[in-house]
């Protein structure tokens, strides 16, 4: 599957407090409403401007902090097709896969705001059409690939009834 869209560049250490702020805690059971505020405390205009298929591109330690699954869930609801970063905080990484949002580890230093990107999930490549460069992203563990391919953990368990680790 090829994903195409524009890059939205963020810096290092984008915490889950910036993605889904605590002051909007009361919207956690209204994810479509919470999604209108996604990444608001990092970029107040992002939620209004992001287009379907675009990418969120971070630096180091993307998603650090809280375990709130609402963070990757609302990034997905905002129609972002994948998050790319040099490294992820572990709970966010696992949660992203669980909600069916690809989280891809690659050297994002070379990607700038508004670059046009093409991601090939099978080949493991990120092509920056604006810069004419190809990056590779680190492969996910098998169990995570299966969960992502099924569309997320709920869909995976619905399909298999249990975890399958072979």
């Amino acid at each position: 599957m090829i994903l195409k869209g524009k890059a939205w560049k963020f810096g290092d250490d984008v915490s889950t407090d910036l993605i889904a702020p605590g002051r909007l805690f009361h919207l956690r059971s209204n994810l479509p409403e919470l999604a209108k505020h996604v990444l608001e405390d990092a970029d107040p205009t992002f939620a209004q401007k992001v287009q379907k298929g675009d990418f969120v591109v971070g630096g180091n330690n993307f998603g650090l902090g809280s375990s709130r699954e609402h963070a990757p869930a609302i990034i997905k609801l905002a129609r972002v097709s994948a998050v790319l970063a040099k490294s992820f905080a572990r709970i966010f990484y696992r949660n992203a896969i669980n909600v069916g949002l690809p989280a891809l580890i690659c050297d994002t230093d070379k990607i700038d705001q508004s670059d046009e990107l093409e991601v090939d999930l099978e080949k493991g490549t990120v092509v920056d059409r604006t810069k004419n460069i190809t990056l590779n992203f680190s492969p996910l563990p098998q169990v995570m690939i299966r969960i992502l391919n099924d569309g997320g953990l709920v869909e995976y368990i619905k399909k298999h009834g249990d975890f399958k680790l072979d």
């Binding site: 407090d17 605590g22 805690f25 902090g65 375990s67 699954e69 905080a89 709970i91 696992r94």
Partner: protein
């Protein structure tokens, strides 16, 4: 080959699950039966809805599935009150345990009442790693992972490599476990231990109270770690005895020849009161590096990190007979009902109230920026909690400093970030005659 604590605990669980596999090594991905699951009121409703989606509204181990209402307790608005109703209904339907308003913070209660050495605990809260102080593999996950853990009684895990954190020496007066963990996070960075298990060992840890150990394990995630484990010993046994579970005790230690990815040695006697500056936990400075005057508007003492009796006692000792700076608000939140009652019995709550403290119901209090104690624009708060990200306490225009209960309390007296040792030293500190005068007044 020898095993680290995490290899031992996960290995035992994999062996117990049946099949050929009897032990595990760092790097392997395994399926693990789970002993205890927790959710809190921010993450529980989503977990419940995920289970409803697949018609799996059940708890495999209802006695060890604990649904907490602590982050917004009591509720400040109707949307959250409705979330609380969802949680209560699920508890009733499945027979899972409900820990409602006024009981306290999830990690504190899990330690007091549910978790045992050798257990595997998964929680829909990042500070679930607190349980590592009881030598249980304890880790934070998202709502859906924990939902499946609740319904199926299992989860998949990658066995982490371990960093050994060896601490020897005695803390100076005015230096505490909180200073140690802030120092460590400042040293290795907020992603210095991502995916790793931290194992705390050494004489300092051997002598440390369970309250201090819980502080260390609680903040493992702030260095990116998956777990923060401490061996079990007589101190663990005493803690379990005090909480009616001495039979659950067993001694668990890492093997002498266990393999560690990294060993960090710390001399506790060299540590100083340490503070995390806004807006990251690893942005640490020792008190003597703080050259500027930093005015404080709010002091918050509490949370799963430092809301226990030992923490409240330090603060009470410092403030007794002294006056609060009139420009500072101080909020104290006992981490559990039990802590609150103990503090009441010892007269500590009276000392706080006389000082001018606002005591809140056991729970997370201002920590998550949801209710009670939200900061105004440009305000500075010094807090004993574990996170100071921008906007954490409900306002992106405010600033949060993290510190030990002693350092936080010193600011309540002076109105600015101050050295707690000046209020705790037994001998007269050179040039600080003012402090000695105050002590005489108390008699």
């Amino acid at each position: 080959m020898g095993k680290t604590l995490v290899e031992k605990i996960i290995g035992e669980h994999v062996a117990k699950a049946g099949g050929n596999k009897k032990e595990v090594k760092a790097g392997e991905i395994v399926l693990v039966p789970v002993d205890v699951c927790l959710t809190q009121d921010g993450t529980g409703p989503l977990a419940i809805r995920q289970l409803q989606k697949i018609g799996l509204e059940k708890a495999k181990n209802p006695d060890k599935t604990v649904l907490f209402i602590d982050h917004a307790a009591p509720s400040p608005r109707k949307e959250l009150s409705n979330d609380h109703i969802t949680i209560r209904k699920f508890a009733e339907k499945t027979g899972a345990c409900l820990s409602d308003v006024a009981e306290g913070v999830c990690h504190q209660i899990i330690a007091e009442s549910y978790l045992n050495p050798g257990d595997v605990l998964i929680g829909a809260d990042s500070h679930t790693c607190t349980g590592g102080a009881l030598c249980a593999f304890s880790t934070g996950m998202g709502s859906t992972d924990v939902a499946m853990g609740i319904a199926l009684g299992k989860t998949w895990l990658r066995v982490p490599e371990t960093f050994k954190i060896e601490v020897n020496g005695d803390f100076q007066v005015g230096v505490y476990p909180k200073d140690l963990i802030l120092h460590l996070i400042g040293l290795i960075g907020a992603d210095g231990a991502t995916y790793k298990s931290l194992e705390f060992t050494g004489d300092t840890i051997k002598r440390m109270s369970m309250s201090g150990r819980l502080t260390l394990s609680n903040m493992a995630v702030e260095a990116g770690a998956k777990a923060g484990l401490i061996f079990s010993d007589n101190i663990t046994k005493e803690f379990l005895k005090e909480h009616g579970r001495v039979k659950a005790y067993r001694e668990i230690k890492a093997d002498e020849d266990a393999e560690y990815e990294r060993v960090i040695k710390i001399d506790a006697s060299k540590l100083l009161p340490t503070i995390s500056f806004p807006h990251t936990v690893d942005n640490t400075k020792t008190i003597d590096e703080v050259k500027e005057k930093i005015k404080i508007d709010q002091v918050f003492l509490g949370t799963c990190t430092n809301g226990r009796l030992e923490d409240l006692e330090v603060a009470a000792k410092m403030i007794k007979g002294r006056k609060k700076n009139p420009k500072v608000r101080m909020i104290v939140v006992p981490a559990s009902k039990r802590v609150f009652l103990e503090a009441l019995d010892k007269g500590i709550i009276k000392t706080f109230i006389e000082f001018g403290v606002a005591i809140l119901a056991p729970g997370c209090g201002p920590c998550v920026g949801v209710h009670e104690g939200i900061l105004g624009d440009g305000e500075n708060c010094i807090s004993t909690m574990n996170r100071n990200f921008k906007g954490r306490m409900g306002n992106t225009e405010a600033f949060i400093y993290l510190a030990s209960p002693a350092t936080a309390t010193a600011a309540a007296i002076t109105g600015e970030i101050s050295d707690p040792r000046e209020f705790l030293a037994k001998k007269k500190v050179k040039g600080k005659i003012k402090v000695k005068k105050e002590r005489r007044k108390r008699k």
